[in-house]
C-alpha cells in the first residue's frame, strides 16, 4: 500500500474537451503518481487516447478543439499559458504505430537532443548510447547505428521510438497503445521495458489489452463515453471493481 503515498506528478481537475460540438471528455478528475505505471483502458472511442494527448498538448494540432479545466504538472498549470515545446520535452510520447523518421538510427535518437541545442558529437554519442540501452535496443543495433531506421523490425522500431523519446530526458512518458501493432515477443519486451523504466519515469499507457494493463500497471483508469468511470489501484480494479460497468467491461473482455 506504499504506492498510495507516492507523490502526485500530474493532477487533472474538472477537465472537459470538445471537438466542435462533440463533448469528448466530461469532467475528468484524476491524479497521476510519480514513478508508477498508470493504465488507461476502455472501449474504442471512450476518450482515453484523447485524454492522453491533452497531457502533452498534442491535441493542439487538431482543429476546433476546445479544452476547459486544469491540468498541473508538478503543481504548474499546463493548459493555459505554457511553452508547449518545453512541455513536450518534459512529457514525452510514444505512438501506437512505430514512427521512426526516415533517417539513420543514430539520427533518430539524436533528433531530440539536437533540436534542443546539443551539438557536441561526444555528448550526442553518449546520449544515443544511454537512450538505446535504456530502451533495451543497444545490443541489437549498436553495430548499425548509421543504417536507416526503416530497415529494422517493427518491435525494434517501437523501442527505437522509446529511445528517441528518452533521449530528450522526459519526466513523464505517455504511451498510446504502444504494442498494438507488434507481435507477442516484441510486446513482452516493451512490457519488461516499462517495468524497468518506471524507476526513473512516470508512465501513462493507453492499452486495449486487459492482460497488459493487469501485468504492468500500478493503477488503472476505466473510461467510457468520455467519462472516467473508475480509477483505482490496478489490483482493485481487476478484482474488486466498485462500478458495475467496470466489472462488465473487464469480465467481458476476459470471458
Amino acid at each position: 500500500m506504499q504506492k498510495e503515498i507516492s507523490k502526485k506528478k500530474i493532477v487533472v481537475k474538472d477537465l472537459n474537451l470538445f471537438y466542435g460540438e462533440f463533448h469528448a471528455l466530461k469532467a475528468i478528475n484524476m491524479d497521476i503518481y510519480e514513478g508508477e505505471v498508470t493504465a488507461l483502458i476502455g472501449p474504442s472511442g471512450c476518450g482515453k487516447s484523447t485524454f492522453l494527448k491533452t497531457l502533452n498538448r498534442m491535441n493542439d494540432l487538431v482543429e476546433h478543439v476546445r479544452v476547459t479545466g486544469s491540468i498541473t504538472l508538478d503543481g504548474n498549470e499546463i493548459l493555459s499559458d505554457v511553452d508547449v515545446v518545453a512541455l513536450r520535452k518534459r512529457v514525452g510520447m510514444v505512438f501506437q504505430k512505430p514512427n521512426p523518421f526516415p533517417m539513420s538510427i543514430y539520427d533518430n535518437v539524436a533528433y531530440g537532443p539536437r533540436i534542443h541545442g546539443i551539438k557536441k558529437k561526444s555528448q550526442l554519442d553518449e546520449i544515443v548510447e544511454k537512450s538505446l540501452r535504456a530502451a533495451a535496443l543497444w545490443d541489437e543495433v549498436s553495430d548499425r547505428l548509421s543504417k536507416s531506421a526503416l530497415g529494422i523490425s517493427g518491435g525494434q522500431q517501437q523501442r527505437l521510438c522509446i529511445a528517441r523519446t528518452l533521449a530528450t530526458e522526459p519526466e513523464v512518458l505517455l504511451m498510446d497503445e504502444p504494442t498494438s501493432a507488434l507481435d507477442p515477443i516484441s510486446t513482452s519486451k516493451i512490457e519488461e521495458l516499462c517495468e524497468t523504466l518506471k524507476k526513473n519515469y512516470t508512465i501513462v499507457i493507453v492499452t486495449h489489452n486487459m492482460q497488459q494493463a493487469g501485468r504492468i500497471s500500478d493503477r488503472t483508469a476505466f473510461f467510457l463515453l468520455g467519462e472516467l468511470v473508475e480509477y483505482d489501484l490496478t489490483e482493485r480494479i481487476f478484482h474488486r471493481p466498485r462500478n458495475e460497468k467496470t466489472e462488465r467491461y473487464i469480465t467481458g473482455r476476459f470471458g
Binding site: N56, M58, P102
Partner: protein, 283 residues
Amino acid sequence: MRRRRKMKDWILKSLIWFCSLLTVLFLVWMILYIVSRGLPGINWAFITTPYNLFRNQTGILPMIVGTLLLIVTTLAVAVPIGVAAAIYLTEYARQGRVVRMIRFATESLAGIPSIIYGLFGYIFFKNTLHLGFSVLAGALTLSIMVLPTIVRTTEEALLSVNPSYREGSLALGATRLQTLFKVILPSAIPGIATAVILSMGRVIGETAAVIYTAGSVAKIPAVDRLLTSSVRTLSVHLYMVALEEADFVSAFATATILMIIIALLNLLANRFARKITDRQGMA
C-alpha cells in the same frame, strides 16, 4: 441477341485499342520524322558555335546559354516562392476565405494561356518596370507561369509525408519550424525535385511568353549583363528559323534537341515519382 451484344463489345474494344494505338503511333511518327531529319544536322560545331546569319554561322550555343540562363533565373525566383506557398497551404493555413482565394488564384494562373503571360510580361516587366527585353523580364514572367506547377507538386509531396513523422517530432518538443525543416521537407525532396523538373520543361518549351519578354537576340550576353540582356531560347530559335528564315536544317536539328531534352526530363521526373511511391510503400 447475345451475338449482337458480343458484336457491340468487340467494336467498342477495338475502338479503345485503335485510339490508344493512334496516340502512340502519332508520337512515334513525330519523333521519328523529326529526329531522323534533325540528327544529321547535330554535331559538335552546331552546339558549340555562335549564330550569325551574315557570316553564315548557324550554331546554337547562344540559344543553349540563353535557355540555361532563363531556366536558372526562373527557378531561382519561382522555387523558393512556390515551395514557401505550398508550405503555407499544407502546414499552416486553416481553411477559410484566404485559403480559398489563394487556391482560386493558383487555378487561375494555371489556366491563363501563355500569350496572355507574354502580353502581361511585355507591358508590366518590360515597360512598366523598365526591364526591357531581358532575361529578368522573361524569367519573372515565366516564374508566375510555373508557380502553380511548383505549388501543386510540392503540396502533394508535403501531404504525402507520413503524418506520424510530424506527430513524432512535435511530441519530442520540436517546434513546428524545426519539424518542417528537419523532418518534413527532407522527406518531400523527391516531390520538390519533380516540381523543379516539370518547371524546367515548361521554361524550355515556352515560346509565346518568352519572345516578347526575353526577346530574341541570338547572342551570348556579356558576363556583366547576364540578367539585363535579351536572349533567345531554343524554342524561340526554332520558331524563328522555321518561320522567318525557312532554314529547315537548323529547325529540324533544334527540334530534335528540344525533343531529346524533354524526353530526358520526363525520364528524370518519372524516376523521382517512383522514388516517392517506393517510400510510401515502405512506410
